[in-house]
């Protein structure tokens, strides 16, 4: 195991975050603050409680998930796409480091960063609305697994992308809609019956539901199923990453 190599990639990627502090951390935090002002305070004030939780508090877990999903995907994809684009990937490929260690460094750093963003948003949210966390450890667990799974997804996107535009397609056209339709701002029980069935194909529903359960103890789907679905998603992403390195797809010619 090349620990120094993993550490070098991990620290390099985190250093990129500090270098670009403003867009890395300040911008997602600002975006979330806007959501709270608009949905939580302005609109939320006119809405009744959902499952015994005030609307402002209800959207906190969903919003954190939304940010963690999009940040993980875009960070990890950018992190591996940049060396490909600039050619500096030659050094990674020529280093005595395994595919697993490369992924560990890049995905670990992206997941760490989105975890930090998630926690900052959590603290920011507390300034706007009052909420409590019923199962803090589960909360962290869900946050971690989600950050990891979507950082892996981002890594795959970054490897496959052959242009900056491609880098944006999946986050903007897939992740964002799934996140919005995944119960971020509402409980899926509020949907018409047919839609309640359809949304079960949306993996984000399970993430948000499980995450919300860790806050308020109520969930749209059983928490064990949420956990199982995140794990399945994680395993699928891992399998794709393994395949990429095994075949050298878009990495080694």
């Amino acid at each position: 195991m090349n620990y120094y190599g993993v550490k070098a990639i991990y620290l390099f990627e985190l250093a990129r975050t500090w270098r670009t502090l403003l867009q890395s951390i300040a911008s997602p935090v600002l975006t979330t603050a806007l959501y709270f002002v608009v949905f939580g305070s302005a609109i939320g004030g006119h809405m009744g409680d959902i499952e015994g939780v005030s609307y402002g508090a209800f959207i906190v877990p969903g919003l954190i998930m939304l940010m963690v999903l999009t940040e993980s995907t875009s960070n990890a994809s950018f992190g591996i796409y940049m060396p490909k684009f600039s050619g500096t990937i030659y050094e990674i490929l020529s280093a005595p480091i395994s595919a697993f260690e490369i992924v560990l460094g890049y995905v670990g750093a992206a997941a760490t960063k989105s975890l930090i963003i998630g926690l900052i948003i959590l603290v920011t949210a507390r300034l706007f609305v009052d909420f409590s966390i019923a199962h803090p450890l589960w909360m962290l667990g869900f946050l971690f697994l989600t950050a990891l799974a979507f950082s892996l997804l981002g890594f795959i996107i970054g490897i496959c992308a052959d242009g900056f535009e491609r880098l944006q397609i999946v986050p903007a056209m897939v992740v964002m809609p799934l996140a919005f339709l995944g119960g971020t701002f509402y409980s899926i029980t509020m949907l018409p019956p047919l839609w309640q069935k359809l949304v079960l194909f949306n993996p984000v529903v399970y993430l948000v539901s499980g995450f919300r359960w860790s806050f308020y103890g109520t969930a749209d789907v059983p928490v064990t199923i949420s956990l199982a679905m995140i794990s399945v998603f994680l395993v699928i992403c891992l399998a794709i990453v393994c395949w990429i390195f095994k075949t050298g797809y878009r990495v080694r010619s």
Binding site: N2, Y3, Y4, G5, K7, A8, I9, L11, F12, A15, R16, R19, M82, P83, S86, G87, T88, Y90, E91, I92, L93, S94, A95, P96, I97, S98, G248, R252, S253
Partner: protein, 308 residues
């Protein structure tokens, strides 16, 4: 002695169908400077990319320090440093962060004293906190060299090290390469500048269309294939070549003032008979000079020989 790099029957066909290497065999000795010489597209970069792990090999195998570069890639790659042809370096990093990263990536614990010395040797130390994008092209290339040497490799690959580099930096680089050899580092450089191979290398391999067509010591190569040319400047012009001189390979210039004689460097007694014949014919000459064919000529004739 075990070669430091052993390439056996290596082939490579790219997905596009392009056959970049066709059964390359090559041994690099420990501590030598080896120049891989060939025109663009000959397979130089593919060959070193496979040795360094950037490109997957086709058939055949490659050993670095005795380790298979695919099966024992960790041990093989740990001893290799690569300076790529392109100026591929993260522009937003500082020089210091870049070399520190490279050292860690290759699995070595931090050693600031070594990195400081490395940067000083490359005249980069006063720029260590500068972002790489603020450096000149030549300086960026030095950074790439520093990155390649950050993990103290025993084998250094330089892919076209002096392409697009100014004369001063080229001289500096040659000095540096010699200094590295003194320290026992084996150096393999690719180039299509023949002067570079001629000036630097102990041995030269010529690669053409994916095949190594020749590997030899530089001196041997020059001796064996080198042809010399003797120019004789006559004091009075000749209308035609005298009968007596026709047995030599001579050519007469249009104005009749210059005789050019081609001969093989192997042939020890090539000049004396000609000069004696000139004497006997009472042909006076004001000047004589010889010049040896350069590697460039040798290379051109090698490639032409294969085409024929």
């Amino acid at each position: 002695m075990q070669p430091v790099i052993a390439v056996e029957g290596l082939t490579k066909v790219y997905a596009s169908g392009f056959e970049a290497l066709r059964g390359v065999d090559l041994s690099i000795h420990k501590g030598e400077i080896f120049a891989l010489l060939g025109p663009n597209g000959a397979g130089k970069t593919t060959l070193i990319s496979i040795i360094c792990g950037i490109v997957n090999p086709g058939d055949g195998r490659v050993l670095a320090n005795g380790w298979d570069v695919v099966k024992d890639y960790r041990r093989a790659r740990a001893s290799i440093g690569l300076v790529p042809q392109e100026l591929s370096v993260n522009m937003f990093e500082t020089v210091w962060a870049a070399v520190k990263f490279s050292r860690g990536l290759f699995g070595k614990p931090a050693n600031d004293a070594y990195l400081e010395k490395l940067l000083r040797d490359l005249s980069l130390y006063d720029k260590k906190d500068t972002k790489i994008m603020a450096l000149s092209g030549g300086m960026k290339r030095r950074v790439l060299i520093a990155k390649a040497l950050a993990h103290e490799p025993e084998i250094l690959f330089l892919d076209e090290p002096t392409a697009g580099v100014d004369v001063e930096l080229r001289r500096d680089m040659w000095t540096m390469i010699r200094a590295l050899r003194e320290q026992g580092v084996t150096i393999i450089l690719t180039t299509h500048y023949i002067e570079e191979a001629e000036e630097m290398a102990d041995r030269i391999g010529v690669i053409h269309q994916g095949e190594i067509i020749l590997v030899d010591g530089k001196q041997n190569l020059m001796n064996q294939l080198g042809r010399k040319q003797l120019s004789v400047q006559l004091t009075a012009p000749l209308d035609a070549l005298p009968e007596r001189l026709t047995r030599y390979q001579l050519s007469l210039s249009d104005d009749g003032y210059q005789l050019v004689y081609h001969y093989d460097t192997q042939n020890q007694a090539a000049i004396a008979p000609l000069l004696r014949d000139l004497e006997a014919l009472s042909l006076d000459y004001s000047d004589l000079h010889t010049n040896q064919s350069s590697l460039e000529d040798i290379f051109v004739s090698l490639v032409e020989e294969r085409r024929a």
